[in-house]
Symmetry: C2
Subunit: 384 residues, 2 copies
């Protein structure tokens, strides 16, 4: 399964927690891919200067393809087990992770591959990841919104247990005489409404995922990945030394990440409570999409950088930065879901009020995530 | 008008910007009242050790009473001038400031006064300040909420110009087909609703203030303050040296402030985006009143400390801390007004949604103000 050169077995550990103390610190403080590669190989007694690029790229793709196929088998087996919902979800997660890594690697190291083949596989993996991610995203979004509603309504209770402790009252018009009680009613109804809408969306996404996994299109993807597990279609450039070809491509991924981060409004994000995330939140064309997009883009570039690092020097750890950007994405989408639910016709004013509070709460989570990313990326200078 | 001892004329500058570089820094870093008094007097060549307490207390109260009477005269004159709205507002502000200082001073230095007389005057000044403050508070609250709505709806435009640039559409049911547009409608309607409610409250408060200023109860207060401008009813303790009686009372005010600040959750406030201010914001009994109260209390104690400082050593400057707590109070009351407006019967869901966003926005302002206070009070230690 891993016929690559000896000494690159460490790639099999790509899904283990990283052993390097990187922890998402400013990239400027860590060695670049070239130096890191030289160090990593020399630590194993391997010559860095003339190792062909394919000796690093092929084993990494073999290992990810093997993970893909293993996850797929687990997913099918758990699907036949009535107790297997958690296993199925974990298998789907691993399948998505492997698909993302293959796709990202083919993107970053495209000049080393048979490009026509690589481009086709990338497009198909993007389709598959998208279909598989949707169910997971809806479930996560509902959990996040219900947790926030529980926090806001003081209902206590744990995570993801339906509407938690918020009792859903019978549907009636607003206008309670007891101050505050209509707002609690609103929180409970908002929870019920979101649960209805997002559970429906999730169920549809689940059906779509099952349908996709049974399609001939998916079987073609699985066949292509099976080929990848034993033999990677590489181009002639893959024979060139890693230091001359593969490492500069990894450096390119890092460079694109740096440039995108440099273009982020990190100065503003470093000032807590800057109220940017809610700016124009009630406008006809909310600014949220435009202001969120560069952050979402950095999230993807950080991921590509991480996969490229894995190819060159083994698993790294950009987790704190990645987690902040995941939180940014999740909160932004949850805020959109709350605003969208508020447009449901004929809801009670108290429900709409609760959804407004919830929307603003999640947009502040967006702002908090930007602050957290900024803190991880640019630790505060020593006080004067 | 100021028959106090020579050398205490500096008290007349109490309403000027402070000359001491205190700027609300942690009190621990500034000299206590006793040392500060000795320094201030010795800088003027005055003996600190045996100056009677009344030589500091009486001139301060004389000057504040004179300010009270001057502001009252200006307020009456501006009331007859049709162009005088701004002058009347400024005169009312100065009147309230003088009343607060007299009342606070009689509170902190109560043992030096004829206590029966002082307690009665304090109660009457509290009544007067309350009546006069209400109109100002409603006007400020409306401005704050409309500014926030403008920021949220992207309508641009300046401050306090009615609903600003948000056009108020004709009242119809919700459910627009254009995404987002119903939310803008909601912002405009929320602005119109708040303007209606708070303008009505302000008008009523204005009538109440005019009525109070024409009442025999007010004339009795004005007479008592006129007496204060020439002769302060002090008790025998006022003859004792300031260092033995007056300064310890000022220290007591400072001590009460320190203890109240020490009991605040400053550790939590120092973590931006802690989401505390919105906690249980949709609960039947929102926690906001309970969690805001200690901060409101510190705001009053900071004010008493500031006035006591003015008596002992002349005008100081605790403005950044005071401003943060003013902002805390204003945002808390604006958030309550938004939640209260959302309970208006028969409002459209889009209006309620906008009020929910607005409520959450103002509760985050509350949280931001706590963060700001914490930053002023406990500057961050140097990074390790």
């Amino acid at each position: 399964m891993t016929p690559g050169g000896a000494g690159v077995q460490h790639h099999d550990t790509a899904s283990r927690p990283g052993s390097r103390p990187d922890t998402g610190r400013p990239l400027g403080e860590t060695a670049g891919p070239a130096e890191a590669l030289a160090e990593a190989l020399s630590a194993r007694g391997l010559p860095a200067h003339d190792l062909p690029s394919r000796e690093l790229l092929a084993p990494y793709l073999h290992a990810r393809a093997a993970e893909f196929l293993r996850s797929l088998r687990l997913h099918r087996e758990s699907g036949q087990d009535p107790q297997g919902a958690a296993e199925a979800a974990e298998a789907a997660r691993a399948l998505r992770a492997a698909a993302r890594r293959i796709s990202g690697t083919l993107h970053t190291f495209r000049p080393l591959t048979e490009t026509g083949w690589a481009d086709t596989l990338r497009a198909e993996l993007a389709w598959l990841s998208g279909v598989l991610a949707r169910e997971h995203a809806y479930a996560g979004r509902l959990n996040r919104l219900l947790e926030a509603l529980n926090r806001l309504s003081g209902a206590g209770g744990g995570t993801g247990g339906g509407t938690g402790g918020v009792p859903v009252p019978p549907a009636r018009g607003g206008g309670s005489s007891e101050p505050g009680s209509s707002l609690t009613v609103g929180a409970a109804r908002a929870g019920a409404l979101l649960e209805r809408q997002l559970t429906l969306a999730r169920t549809r996404a689940h059906s779509a995922a099952l349908q996709a996994l049974g399609s001939s299109r998916f079987h073609a993807v699985a066949d292509a990945v099976a080929l990848l597990a034993s033999d990677v279609p590489l181009g002639p450039a893959a024979a060139a030394p890693a230091a001359e070809v593969l490492t500069p491509l990894a450096t390119g991924a890092e460079q694109r990440l740096r440039e995108a981060v440099a273009a982020l409004p990190l100065g503003r994000a470093s000032h807590p409570y800057n109220a940017e995330a809610l700016l124009h939140g009630l406008a006809p064309a909310p600014s949220s999409e435009a202001q969120d997009a560069p952050w979402h883009h950095v999230r993807l570039l950080l991921r590509l950088h991480r996969y490229a690092q894995e190819v060159v020097i083994g698993p790294g750890d950009t987790r704190p930065a990645a987690r902040a950007l995941d939180r940014h994405r999740d909160a932004a989408e949850a805020a959109t879901a709350a605003a969208s639910a508020a447009r449901t016709p004929r809801i009670a004013p108290a429900t709409a009020y609760a959804l407004g509070v919830l929307h603003a709460d999640q947009r502040h989570e967006v702002e908090a995530a930007r602050f957290a990313f900024q803190q991880v990326w640019q630790p505060a200078p020593a006080a004067p």
